[in-house]
Symmetry: C2
Subunit: 349 residues, 2 copies
């Protein structure tokens, strides 16, 4: 008996100890290192020895234990992706793009959702660090990332996505939120709208703040005063959004057009407008599947989620390959897609 420490398990083949290289070695009648050479495709093993080793591997059902390998080599060949919610359609393509890049570099992907909770973001990110991921791609929920400083110092490459890091220097890949929103609002202004509403996400979120800034810039550039009742920021909960939209549309100084700050807000507003008899122009930030088939089709400022993910992952692997440039902020352009809802003229007064 080789393993006297677990007598009760030794009898059961189904849940027995997995074979190790040592087991393969004795089964094949070779040294441990020879097995290691075969498993890792290193040279310096005769064809005959290799055959015997491979036979032993198959016979025993051996598979290399990467935990041990990782411990020894110091690199895990894995990266962690922390995002807000895997179920959000924006993050699906983003994750997939990160995974594809990781795959090219032979790395696996650990996935975690922060649920927009800074504390949870921190837990997930640090759990990944404890696993010694080589790198981290983070869609931040919180705005203070000093907790990551020791990890960055220890060499865990980190790229922030969608929103920049708070209180630490790190790479970030963002959309042109300001310019995209500004252009979307300018598009409405160009169609003759003067009273335009903005409904966005919570103001402490970087993208929400930037998009609101873009709204104000477009209005200002056109010489239009903004009634404070025309802007609303808060959770993307449908009840809140619906109430704010209704208030803007029916108040004393009603808007003739709406700019919505992200896909969830747009969805809620589209549902609301569908039940209205009055035509209201709409431009939304983020594209929606089927947006082209609605009546009217929805005009959007589209982000390229897959490109954002790919760009971030490629930057990450450049860092892992040794790039020592200053932390950089990459801003990716958005695309205004005019489909109809943004081209509705203002209703006559």
């Amino acid at each position: 008996m080789a393993d006297t420490s677990r007598p009760t398990r030794a009898a059961s083949p189904r849940y027995g100890r997995r074979p190790t290289m040592k087991d393969v070695a004795s089964h094949a009648g070779v040294g441990l290192k020879t097995v290691s050479r075969v498993v890792n495709g290193e040279s310096g093993v005769t064809a005959d020895t290799e055959r015997r080793v491979r036979e032993a591997i198959t016979a025993l059902g051996f598979r290399r234990n990467d935990s041990a390998r990782i411990l020894r080599k110091g690199r895990t060949a894995s990266i962690g992706l922390v995002l807000e919610d895997l179920a959000d359609p924006f993050y699906g393509p983003l994750s997939r793009a990160v995974e594809d890049v990781a795959r090219v570099h032979g790395a696996l992907l650990l996935n975690g959702s922060s649920a927009e909770d800074p504390q949870r973001e921190r837990e997930v990110a640090l759990a990944f660090c404890a696993r010694r991921v080589d790198g981290l791609v983070i869609v931040p929920a919180g705005d203070d990332h000093r907790y990551l400083a020791p990890e960055l110092a220890a060499g865990i490459a980190t790229v922030f996505v969608d929103r920049p890091a708070g209180h630490i220097e790190a790479d970030a890949v963002l959309s042109e939120n300001f310019a995209g929103a500004r252009d979307g609002v300018a598009h409405l202004i160009a169609r003759g709208h003067r009273r335009i509403g903005f409904i966005g996400d919570q103001p402490h979120i970087h993208t929400a703040a930037e998009r609101l800034r873009g709204y104000h810039r477009a209005m200002g550039a056109a010489g239009l005063a903004v009634d404070p009742a025309w802007t609303a920021s808060g959770p993307t909960d449908p009840v809140r959004v619906r109430a704010d939209a209704l208030r803007m549309l029916t108040g004393p100084n009603p808007v003739t057009a709406l700019f919505t700050g992200n896909n969830r807000v747009t969805l809620t507003v589209v549902r609301l407008l569908a039940g209205l008899d009055r035509p209201v122009a709409l431009v939304g930030f983020d594209d929606l599947e089927l947006a082209d088939l609605l009546d009217p089709p929805i005009t959007v400022v589209a982000q390229d989620a897959a490109r954002i993910g790919r760009t971030a992952a490629e930057l990450l692997f450049r860092r892992l390959a040794g790039s020592r440039e200053e932390p950089q902020r990459v801003e990716l352009p958005t695309t205004l897609i005019a489909r109809g809802s943004g081209e509705i003229p203002p209703a006559p007064p």
Copy 2:
């Protein structure tokens, strides 16, 4: 110099060797095991000792290396999820549900896409096994999973999702594909349709075959003969789907209604029908976001992706907790959501 193996790096604090428990121990002037006790919240450490250890941990920026812990404990507290494509909206909620359950059990989630390629599914699944994940949730791309037999034998719990495993005994969580499709087609028949087309995914895919079987059953139960030109199975590529749909709608024996076998097919057909002047009834398998806002709103047979994921993950963790029941197949009900497109009557001849 403690680390002479990396002379060029030793000078840089930024990329130095990470501190270990041993480093913390000597910094705090205690033994290694005491640090371990503090880090793992074990009892038997005086408040004063604990404070000194914690100070050393903060001072050095120590974080436990879980790779070493995993190697020693034999459990990785992680599970692997292999699915078709993270970017597909069906899998977002599914992944999220699996992650949430994993989180409750203190496990991390490794994510991989097979891109519907059996070889790639195998690579990803085996890479996860080499990492010694405790369990695996797999949306199979291939139909032969004997390659997993040694892993199952070694105790890696595995649950298949959406489609059953091929040639091995394993748990599976599926939708009621047959019943869902049958009821969806029966719904069209009840509205007076007699010539109904079916456009589905490739026939070797289990869900596609089951849904096609449901179609035939509904037609048969209503005493309706099926013209072979009314069914088409193949890749969900829009060009193929469009061509097949057009053929059915304009052939010598044209259909008055279509049943589409999954969300991608439905999308393509919706786009096609939107350009037609003739009204055609449509029921699709899988729900679509915004389906209720289209004109007409789309009637669907909806699967609950989140529930499927949750059910699979819970079954997995029951296995990990020691459940030794026979492998089981769980079938989750679908929901017919009548919205309009499925209630269009047949066009007069």
